[in-house]
Symmetry: C2
Subunit: 423 residues, 2 copies
Amino acid sequence: MADYREMWKDLGMDLETHDLLCEVLPVAFTDVYLSQKNRPEGMGYYDFVVSEIHGVRPAELIEAQKNGKKVFGSFCIFVPDEVIFAADAIATGLCGGSQFWVPGGEKVLPTNTCPLIKASVGARLDRTCPFFRIADMYIGETTCDGKKKAWEILKEDVPMYVMDLPQMKRRKDYKAWAEEITALKDKVEEFTGNKVDAEKLAASIKLINDKRRALQRLSNFRKNKNIPISGKDVLLISQIAFYDDPTRFTQMTNALCDELDKRVEEGISVFPKGTKRILLAGTPLAIPNWKLHNIVETTGGAVVCEEMCTGTRYFENLVEEGRDTFEGQVEALAERYMNINCACFTPNEARIDDIKRLVKEYDIDGVIDVNLKFCNLYDTEGFLVERALKEAGIPVLGIETDYTDADAQQLRTRIGAFIEMLG
Amino acid sequence: MADYREMWKDLGMDLETHDLLCEVLPVAFTDVYLSQKNRPEGMGYYDFVVSEIHGVRPAELIEAQKNGKKVFGSFCIFVPDEVIFAADAIATGLCGGSQFWVPGGEKVLPTNTCPLIKASVGARLDRTCPFFRIADMYIGETTCDGKKKAWEILKEDVPMYVMDLPQMKRRKDYKAWAEEITALKDKVEEFTGNKVDAEKLAASIKLINDKRRALQRLSNFRKNKNIPISGKDVLLISQIAFYDDPTRFTQMTNALCDELDKRVEEGISVFPKGTKRILLAGTPLAIPNWKLHNIVETTGGAVVCEEMCTGTRYFENLVEEGRDTFEGQVEALAERYMNINCACFTPNEARIDDIKRLVKEYDIDGVIDVNLKFCNLYDTEGFLVERALKEAGIPVLGIETDYTDADAQQLRTRIGAFIEMLG
């Protein structure tokens, strides 16, 4: 790994504590990822990004800042990156996927908060994540109780802008979200000093759609009987999508897909015949949370689809291109984002339809409904989801977990038994 | 108690299970309430209402239904009763304050849900609360994750209408709430077949304001050095305010206040000199949750104010009267309701100002910041509240509790020590 200590020091990070993270991450990555056999060569790029996760991309962001660009950090797939890139600024994800950050969050947040939020807040307050140090402004949203209130703590430290996501999906709520997108545009313009016009927004809509198209293309490979790439690897790519430069990410992902095209032609699979095809549904898996994929794929299963924010909810729908007015574009953005079926909406029945559709499209043998501990939204909705799947004759296993390894063996037993039962 | 078994049977209630509740409630009430000395005579009315809590008011509601009236059940102080009464219908509270109902809720909801929501859902699904059986329609709101998702389970059983409360307090959010109130009006008109006009709405605004004025008058007595009524008794009155006929409730509460006027003149206090004056801040205390008041008032304290939904948040602000158009009235309603400082908003700094103001107005010795277990909103906000109070030199104790008695002794020890420390 290149030496980024000077950069981290300049960012005001806690180097000593951060060193501990730098020690454990490569070990976990080697165990989970590099131990896989027959990986596509194109994974080399993502492996490199992870190996320098707190170095290479942060260095680029700092360089961009030196050239006058602003960096906006966000926590949720409802924040429309298109608006930020249209103001010649950069959007980057800020979620926290490691137990390493959780105790820092628990200093100020209730223990009964989901690990994702605790890790995010801990990463910021403990100064052990460069992305949190670099971002000039955070953009929050009102998707859940925990995040809504966490913004009030984070904003004491960093400029924070909050978008109010409607909690329902009536036509007027689509309009309200369009207004929020326009308000974000105003804020971003003010903060960057750059104007957003229809031409720039059209370009950034295409930029982000291209990323989605690449992820869709990647995802489609998993529909094959011969699965040319592991679920773990696709998860890693999805996680990196939140941080990486979108143009480069799209290029590299399409290059990987070219390689996978050949694998499909040659009938190459990274899984033995008869491996059970698993869909994970539920709460997101932020980097470096690879726990469930690792368990599934070492107990006779292959994860071939994630109905998650780090999955189909992130890339499935495109923003309509070709609208030629700013108002029309904002309408198209609102339409696309409001069609994400997140458990934060009431009701959210379309999510059950999504899961049933994905089960068919990906020829799923069994669904694992995943809840990050203390996410009340997905936990409650899980009751309805699991009931609906059972009624439809689709095998489903509901699990709740967090970022610790304390339950790994128990999960391995339960998931192993579930997969065996599918046989 | 009169015999209401036939009525409960007709309501489709589970009589056997309900009998168990009927056995425990009077015992708890006798222990907590009737054991008090020197209670105002005017408490007789509220004692009667509680002694027949599942009988007398339900019988009135059923009688009203026979005469063509509709009954709307709600769970939150953001639902504007004014609109319902203006349509010649009846609004009633539906919250659940007893552990008795919690296991029923846990059959379908995550254990990590607050007891208030679990009890409400359990009371409905187990068919052990007549109010839940009587209501023709429930009115929910989007104030928290747990409730938002609970509506999806409740609505499988009962007509359910949900109001989308904005999650922030910008001017446009006030307007959005006014639109929600108008949409509720449309729904209530359609469901009842009765038109709401400015004249009817003016009358119901006055009706509900009168209730608030009576509660304000009652609350003001607690500002006296000689406290003429216990906190427990005022809590009971606040709880009954959610269920009772508003006209009668206002009359009876004003009659009680007339009695308290005399007590003040005569310098009567129900507490010994030197009793510490406690403000409870935080999550609501639904009937029959009297646990904290009972502990405080048997360990050397007097609860003289509740900054809660069952307290100042319910009655402090009036709806502006005298607007002569429907639009103007809705604007006044939106203004009044949006000014409630609930932790569901981000940010919610005005709540801290409220608490500091109440500390002065009620000459408070110490604040107990109360969180119902698994309420992430008030729990997270509690961190900010308690820090602000400490910075202002106001003694504060943060506690988290649920409806069980398991922690009663521990709370007694902690609260006792806190009150002693105030000395």
